[in-house]
């Protein structure tokens, strides 16, 4: 995205369900490229959006500046660094609020690459905005974890326990490949290993312990309490 030629569209879209590690990826991208990142809030207006972007550029703005001035300033600031990307997290909220046009304007005027990060439905939402969707250069869906990724997570989050491949694969599958759930299960594994003072864990040692799948509890049948039987009259 950064090295694209200037005539190419400047938007990238990263989408995926929650817990796939989009946020971690955005931190990584931020640290690597010195990108600016804003996370859109529910209560945001156009003004807050522009103010937050300017704040990320270490610019101070006066309270009562009109939006057009803020927008001009943001454009000029972004244009000063046309290789520094702007990451907009929760970008689907921008589409919902009809504020995506501001971001498009900023991108077009400044030429800086803009990465929109959002939920799985973000591409579909962007398609409804005619002027947006053909300005997207790359769509990159977040991928579920494979065994190698799960291994990397295990090394980072449960470094003291050697988790064998069979258990790790089971954890990965039961977590649906979602990094966040895998980490919760790894925490449990680390705790189990500590309690049993084990150095290594495999499927046999894990036994019948539950996995964290994020499934909500099944509805209870509240009518199933024992009733006093009515005596026949």
């Amino acid at each position: 995205m950064i090295e694209r030629s200037p005539h190419l569209p400047g938007f990238g879209v990263c989408h995926g369900p929650s817990g796939y590690g989009k946020t971690y990826a955005s931190i990584f991208a931020q640290n690597r490229t010195k990108a600016l990142r804003v996370e859109v809030g529910d209560s945001w207006t156009r003004r807050t959006l522009l103010r937050q972007i300017l704040k990320e550029c270490s610019e101070t703005v006066k309270e009562r500046w009109p939006i057009s001035d803020l927008s001009d300033m943001a454009k000029s600031v972004l244009a000063e660094d046309p290789r520094r990307p702007l990451i907009v997290d929760e970008a689907d909220k921008l589409v919902d609020k009809g504020m995506i046009e501001i971001v498009r304007e900023l991108q077009e005027a400044s030429g800086a690459p803009v990465i929109l990060v959002g939920e799985e439905k973000l591409p579909a939402k962007l398609l409804t905005v005619e002027r947006m969707h053909n300005r997207v250069l790359h769509w990159f869906p977040a991928q579920p974890c494979d065994l190698e990724d799960a291994r990397a997570l295990a090394n980072a989050f449960a470094p003291k326990v050697d988790i064998k491949d069979d258990l790790l694969e089971e954890i990965r599958a039961r977590s649906g490949g979602r990094a966040r759930r895998i980490v919760v299960n790894l925490d449990q594994a680390a705790e189990l290993a500590r309690n049993k003072s084990m150095k290594a864990l495999d499927m046999k040692l894990w036994g019948a312990a539950d996995f964290y799948t994020g499934e909500p509890p099944a509805p209870r049948h509240i009518e199933q309490y024992p009733r006093r039987e009515r005596k026949a009259a």
Binding site: S26, F28, N31, K34, E39, E56, F157, D187
Partner: protein, 210 residues
């Protein structure tokens, strides 16, 4: 003759002279806007530090490809004329051989803290890791403790469990993109480069010993 000088009221005007690499970069960008090509002398004129520092920085910038040499100096290197070719807002941090200095671990950690909002130490160290910067567990802990002492973070669950403690960034202390850093002035407090204030405990006035 003290009474003779009473017409001259000493005025204390704080004038900020750009210094340090950030300052030189600012001067270079301004020169590029107003003058176009420039020499090391032009940069030196607008700052008040020794030439050596500026010379080193300008030559490293040219090795790193931020500056082009338009005309090499004939008699001495000082008359070399440079042109700014790669512009950016943040001053590039370069070594003498022109290689880029990667971000510090603290900067990576601060970025991760601002994004994660709530985190444990292992999680934070993992999130802040890139190819060239790998914060250690101990270093992460030290920085988090410093930020907690200075009032940036609150502990949301104390340590003791297998997962260890978790912290949260106070929303009001999410001051901006630059990482607060430890500065030994006369007192040991945190410096916030966004709001440009020292944060934390009341600085205890002590003599700075050389």
């Amino acid at each position: 003759m003290r009474h003779n000088s009473q017409h001259y009221v000493p005025a204390n005007l704080p004038v900020r002279v750009p210094r340090g690499q950030e300052g030189y970069w600012q001067i270079i960008c301004q020169l590029a806007d107003t003058k176009g090509d420039f020499t090391i002398n032009d940069v030196d004129d607008q700052s008040n530090v020794g030439r050596g520092d500026i010379q080193v920085y300008v030559w490293s910038l040219s090795k790193a490809g931020f500056l082009d040499i338009v005309r090499a100096g004939k008699a001495n290197r000082a008359s070399t004329v440079f042109r700014l070719v790669k512009r950016q807002r943040i001053a590039p941090r370069v070594r003498r051989d022109g290689s880029i200095i990667p971000a510090t671990a603290q900067e990576n950690l601060w970025t991760a803290i601002r994004t994660l909002k709530s985190f444990g130490l292992r999680e934070l160290a993992f999130a802040a890791t890139t190819e060239d910067v790998r914060p250690t567990y101990e270093g992460t802990k030290r920085y988090v403790m410093r930020l907690t002492d200075a009032g940036y973070l609150v502990i949301t669950s104390p340590s003791g469990g297998p997962k260890g403690a978790t912290w949260r960034l106070k929303p009001s202390m999410n001051t901006g993109p630059k990482a607060p850093e430890r500065r030994a002035v006369n007192a040991d407090v945190m410096w916030d480069p966004n709001t440009k204030v020292f944060v934390g405990a009341e600085p205890i006035a002590t003599e700075a010993r050389q």
